[in-house]
Amino acid sequence: MDKIRFQVLAGTHTGYRLLLWLLIILIGIGLIAAHHMESQGHWVTGMDNRVVWGLPHVFAIFLILSASGALNTASISSVFGRSDYQPLARLSGLLAVTLLTGGLAVLVLDLGRPDRLVVAMTYYNFSSVFAWNVFLYTGFMLVVLIYLWVMMTPQMRGYVRSVGVVALIWRLILTSGTGAIFGFLVARDAYDTAIMVPLFILMSLSLGMAVFWVSTLTMCRWNGYRVAPELSEKLRRLSAVFVLGVLFLMALHHLTNIYMAHHQGIERFLLVDGGVYPWLFWLGFVLCGSIVPVWWFLDRRFCTPAWTVTTALMVIVGGLCHLYVTIIGGQAYPLRLVSGYRVDSGLYDGEITHYLPTLPELALGIGGVSLALLITMLAVRILPFLPTVTRPLPGSNQG
């Protein structure tokens, strides 16, 4: 029987080196963008006093959700005792840490005062779900680092399951906390619902699997490792289930809102006549990011690594569209300032806010994604995260 071993990424593949330099350049551009935003002020972005969270938040939340979901494979391997998932468990844990690092970097650099990070770490208002998330994010990183250490240390193998359980519970709470950031916004019709919590959990599972597919298949290719077809099939089916789950909860969320008379305005805006938002929702999220990927994940004609990566990329693009519609569309729609009255202000109360992201915002978001990928690529060159197969010598009985 073949034995799974782990090794550092051998040699320097041309694709690896090119990608490494590209990521370094993108991170550099992202840092310049962040410095520009901080030194000039946020007027250089498309954000204003109505749309206060813009494109950087779309990227940050995408990365944070993906971080939690990327741990799926490790959880299945150690918590549910499925040894066939074990070859990919370390990579799964590594991605969880690096994606979270990228997401937090974007979130912090988009603050009005990123220089006051120490204030955020020392002053806590425990009625704020944001403050909980500071603990949840840093705690998650610590738990997963311990998880990786336990997985990679032969003497600690006995603790893998216990630490895996803690990591699984922690990540469910983490994504609940992220969903609650929106669910607790009682004044905004687009949010203000507990369904945001399970919706964000499922989004994390779906997006995390998609990012995992793209990263793993690319790096395993450099390493000459081929994911076993049976395992690939299981993970593809699992990915399809997660994508369908998101679609189901999203449908439930919108149908519930449509049922409530005072939420019909926001629904009409996001789904029918809100300009870019209905296009992103139906074409980006529903069709390209959900229906087609589910079909391709489940159809064996599309089971090659290249198709799988393509399908996963579509889920990622669909997820970004979904987050854009949720985060920015939800703010662009005007608030109900006064019950029973239509606002007809000379300013821009009662009107749709037009938000157009600017290059610094895009550069910061892409810089965060690049940071996550760069740390991942460097880590696999330094520590044995990537699986490889060693065949036993004839006559030996190792197994």
């Binding site: 901080e38 608030l335 300032l337």
Partner: protein
């Protein structure tokens, strides 16, 4: 014989006296309602709940006196881009959905008892004073804008660029969030907020400021005796700002 050099001084004293007399008489600015002068080190007390009553029947559609007074008082310079301008107070035109009646109201931080901005602020920079004023500590605000997401009234602004000409009593800072302070610096000196004063001087008297907990204050008496409402009663925020005629 009158010394011509004393003319400007007399004119100044005369105008000051007239203005003071006017302020004491116009509705809305009941200086006698305010607490007696107190020690500047005296902390805010839970015995007081500062409140503001807006009478929409008196508010004039094209009048921007309260907005201008606020901008002057706190040195809120325009940025040149309306969507980025500080809006501690703004005029909002409303149309009654049931009968198309139009009315105009000033809208500012509602100084909610259960303030969503205070709940969500991760560092506690958004806080509520014992006397009900909702304020922002500019030293601990990290500019995350979660409070702006949470505010049901869009009453908060983000400082999108450098600020100049700040007043010492009203600090502002690039990258932080700000909103109506109810002119806390004036109230702590037993003076009415700038918007209230200017509305009174302009003769509209649509704003009445005072202690909601003081049964003898005008604002308290009016709130107890006249119909009024919060802007979003469905959210049960128990706002410090109340509206009549809406």
């Amino acid at each position: 014989m009158t010394d011509p050099a004393n003319k400007p001084r007399r004119r100044f004293l005369g105008r000051t006296g007239a203005s003071t007399a006017l302020l004491a008489l116009v509705p809305g600015v009941k200086l006698v309602d305010l607490a007696l002068a107190k020690d500047e080190d005296e902390p805010a007390s839970v015995k007081t709940r500062w409140g503001l009553l807006v009478d929409a029947n008196r508010c004039v559609t094209d009048c921007q006196a309260c907005v201008s007074a606020c901008e002057d008082e706190h040195a809120l310079a325009k940025t040149g881009t309306a969507r980025l301008d500080p809006q501690w107070i703004r005029k909002v035109e409303l149309v009654d959905e049931s009968n198309d009646r139009s009315l105009s109201i000033p809208l500012m931080c509602q100084h909610c008892e259960d303030a969503p901005c205070v709940d969500v602020c991760p560092t506690g920079a958004s806080f509520k004073r014992a006397d009900g004023m909702v304020l922002v500590d500019k030293h601990t605000c990290i500019g995350c804008r979660y409070c702006m997401m949470a505010c049901p009234f869009n009453a908060r602004s983000f400082v999108h660029g450098e600020v100049t000409g700040q007043k010492s009593y009203s600090p502002r800072g690039k990258g932080t969030v700000e909103s109506c302070t109810l002119c806390v610096h004036r109230v702590d000196q037993d003076r009415a907020p700038a918007c209230v004063e200017s509305c009174a001087v302009d003769g509209h008297g649509a704003l009445t400021f005072g202690d909601l907990n003081d049964s003898e204050s005008t604002v308290s008496k009016t709130v107890r005796s006249q119909p009024h409402r919060e802007l979003r009663p469905d959210l049960a925020l128990n706002t410090g700002v109340r509206y009549r005629g809406v």
